[in-house]
């Protein structure tokens, strides 16, 4: 069974590019942060504590995002090959056999991605340690180590994520007969995430009030959980705006990106304003650097996920475009239609992300600056929205143009 799966992988490696890329990036990030724990084993007490905090706070963010990204890209890759699984089903494959194939493929991709990620994670960890040394948080004499914790985190999380994603996806695919979307589990997960977000937000505004920069821990978490929760509700959000639910997979990354980026950037902005003229704990600059580093990395990560999702979704619609062209639509009309859809996807995603970022911004503003609505410039928000629009537009229109090039012939 696994042999058939591997042959399919080799035949159409492109279908797994997005899964591979998100697993690779995720494994590299996780290894980089986890290697700080390896490093801490050989460091003095103060340095070790700082390394541990950095690794667990930032690593925790990555963990959630990695599992989410691998799941969503893998289920897209599997869904696109639905007809192949139907063929196998008809050739006599049982549900458990299909499940083994899908999970086998996912594990193969994950192992390969984590393997390739080792040198990148190693280099990334070195850069992180350098940053921590530059800000004086870790003693200069501490030597970099990349060992069992880094490898276990990188391989372990990527593998477990792939297995979970594989099982979740195959459950849907291996069922007999008509496939029905079963939104219950997704909605329950969304509810739990939003609950966690609200919990963190309340904690920030109450328990963490007056704790200064430490309130960032819970405030940052609130925004991430909120973004994940709203991202999972993408189909419902699209239905509200009357847009086709098929595009839900594109709304998710836009929501995550704008939610986490907006939340973190404004949280740091509030912190910077509040800290002006105050005596700060010596790790404040450290955290500031780390915040921007993490926002940067998550931005790159989510951007790649977004572009890949959109390209996959658009390529998948090649047939639909061909039919439109056959029915007499000009290339310009098809492009305009896609552009209008992309706009709705982006706006929905940005609005959801903005709402999610409030889980971070409002309680943190109240805890740190004593004002719920931050007196901050709108410029960073505008930049984040512009990046989201640019990414969506480039990915969608570029792919669409490529798939409708040439005469309006029926496609096989």
């Amino acid at each position: 069974m696994i042999a058939i799966a591997l042959r399919t992988l080799r035949h159409r490696p492109g279908g797994f590019a997005a899964t591979f890329l998100s697993a690779f990036l995720g494994a590299a990030l996780l290894m980089a942060f986890a290697s700080l724990l390896d490093t801490a084993a050989g460091a003095d007490e103060a340095s070790a504590e700082s390394l541990g905090t950095t690794a667990s706070v930032a690593g925790g963010w990555c963990l959630v995002i990695v599992v989410f990204a691998v799941t969503s890209t893998l289920s897209l890759a599997v869904r696109q090959r639905g007809d192949q699984f139907a063929v196998l089903r008809r050739a006599g494959a049982t549900g458990p056999q299909l499940r083994r194939m899908i999970v086998g493929e996912a594990v193969a991709v994950a192992v390969l991605a984590a393997g390739v990620a080792v040198p990148v994670g190693l280099a990334g960890g070195r850069v992180l340690l350098g940053l921590l040394k530059d800000t004086g948080q870790v003693a200069d004499g501490v030597g970099y180590a990349f060992g069992p914790v880094a490898l276990a985190a990188g391989f372990g999380v990527t593998l477990i994520g792939a297995v979970i994603a594989g099982f979740a996806t195959s459950r849907r695919t291996s069922r007999m007969g008509v496939k029905r979307e079963r939104p219950r589990a997704r909605r329950i997960a969304a509810g739990l995430f939003l609950g966690a977000a609200a919990g963190c937000a309340v904690l920030t505004a109450t328990v963490m009030d007056g704790k200064g920069i430490d309130a960032m821990q819970t405030a940052g978490q609130a925004g991430i959980w909120g973004s994940l929760g709203l991202a999972l509700l993408a189909p419902e959000l699209l239905r509200l705006t009357g847009t086709s639910v098929r595009l839900a997979s594109a709304v998710m990354p836009v929501t995550l990106f704008s939610g986490i980026a907006t939340g973190t950037v404004y949280m740091q902005g509030i912190e910077d304003d509040a800290a002006a003229g105050q005596i700060q704990p010596d790790y404040a600059r450290d955290i500031q650097t780390l915040n921007y580093v993490v926002v940067g990395m998550i931005t790159v990560f989510v951007a790649i996920m977004l572009v890949n999702t959109l390209i996959a979704a658009t390529v998948h619609r090649r047939r639909e475009f061909a039919q439109l062209r056959l029915a007499g639509a000009t290339r310009g009309q098809v492009t305009a239609m896609v552009a209008a859809e992309a706009l709705r996807v982006t706006v929905t995603g940005i609005l959801a992300g903005s709402a999610a970022s409030l889980f971070t911004i409002l309680p943190f503003g109240s805890a740190r600056a004593g004002e719920i609505w931050p007196s901050a410039s709108i410029a960073p928000y505008a930049v984040i929205a512009a990046i989201a629009v640019l990414l969506t537009a480039t990915a969608t229109l570029g792919t669409t143009r490529r798939s409708i090039r040439g005469p309006a012939l029926p496609q096989a």
């Binding site: 008809r90 549900g95 458990p96």
Partner: protein
């Protein structure tokens, strides 16, 4: 003679907003070693009947017997195992896996059933169908007629008692269609298999021993030793009625 396949008062309702009844109480028996064509206007339920009889889909009510054992009484996995031991399939759109070679496609049902993937048997079947030299190629290099012959080879490789064919000639040119139909008839006459074929083409139906007509999910007549003209005439009546 024993029945290779028997269905008893099959009902199938699709629930897509407003319920649609595809099968409305169909009972039929298909004798071993016969070639039966199932015909009817679009939406008459002929493909649904085939899918239920073959264990690809479950009827809403009613029973299906394959080789004397009841198929409908078992769970999903048991049903799949049962059907891959006793049935072979040929579909309009070939249903070959693009990543596998011709030979790998042919032995796929055996491998899924964990039976020894007997290369000799695969070569033998491919040779019979004039595809021996194509064994190592990918399906995309083959013409439609050749692909359908690979699908027939795959259906035959496990020596199943029954072969189910859903519009097997629907995508083929006239010559390839005739080759595939002649093949199906040969498997019945020379190898004692049972073939049940859904088609809308009277010419294809004329290759069968018996034609079963369906209309609105119910049986609507039967013809033995059919000719294309007689089948066409019966169909015209059905559509007019």
């Amino acid at each position: 003679m024993t029945d290779a396949v028997r269905v008893e008062s099959l009902y199938k309702t699709y629930d897509t907003g407003t319920p649609v009844t595809a099968l409305d109480g169909v009972s039929a028996a298909f004798e071993a070693g016969t070639f039966t064509a199932v015909m009817g206007p679009s939406g008459s339920g002929k493909s649904t009947l085939l899918q239920c009889a073959a264990g690809l889909d479950r009827p809403s009510a009613g029973r299906v017997f394959l080789g004397g054992a009841e198929l409908t009484a078992t769970g999903d996995t048991a049903m799949t195992k049962f059907r891959r031991e006793r049935a072979g399939f040929v579909f309009q759109d070939y249903n070959l896996l693009p990543a596998l070679t011709v030979e790998q496609n042919v032995v796929l049902p055996l491998r899924l059933a964990r039976r020894r993937a007997d290369r000799g048997r695969a070569r033998e079947v491919l040779g019979t169908l004039g595809l021996a030299e194509r064994a190592g190629e990918l399906p995309e290099r083959l013409s439609g007629g050749q692909r359908q012959r690979v699908a027939v080879a795959r259906a035959l490789v496990g020596r199943p008692a029954v072969i189910f064919a859903d519009e097997p000639t629907g995508a083929l040119d006239l010559r390839s269609a005739r080759e595939v139909l002649a093949l199906l008839r040969t498997t019945v006459r020379d190898f004692g298999r049972t073939v049940i074929m859904v088609t809308h083409d009277p010419m294809a139906a004329a290759y069968a021993d018996t034609v079963l007509f369906l209309a609105d999910g119910r049986l609507a007549g039967q013809l033995s030793a059919p000719t294309a003209e007689a089948v066409a005439a019966h169909l015209t009546e059905l559509v007019a009625a």
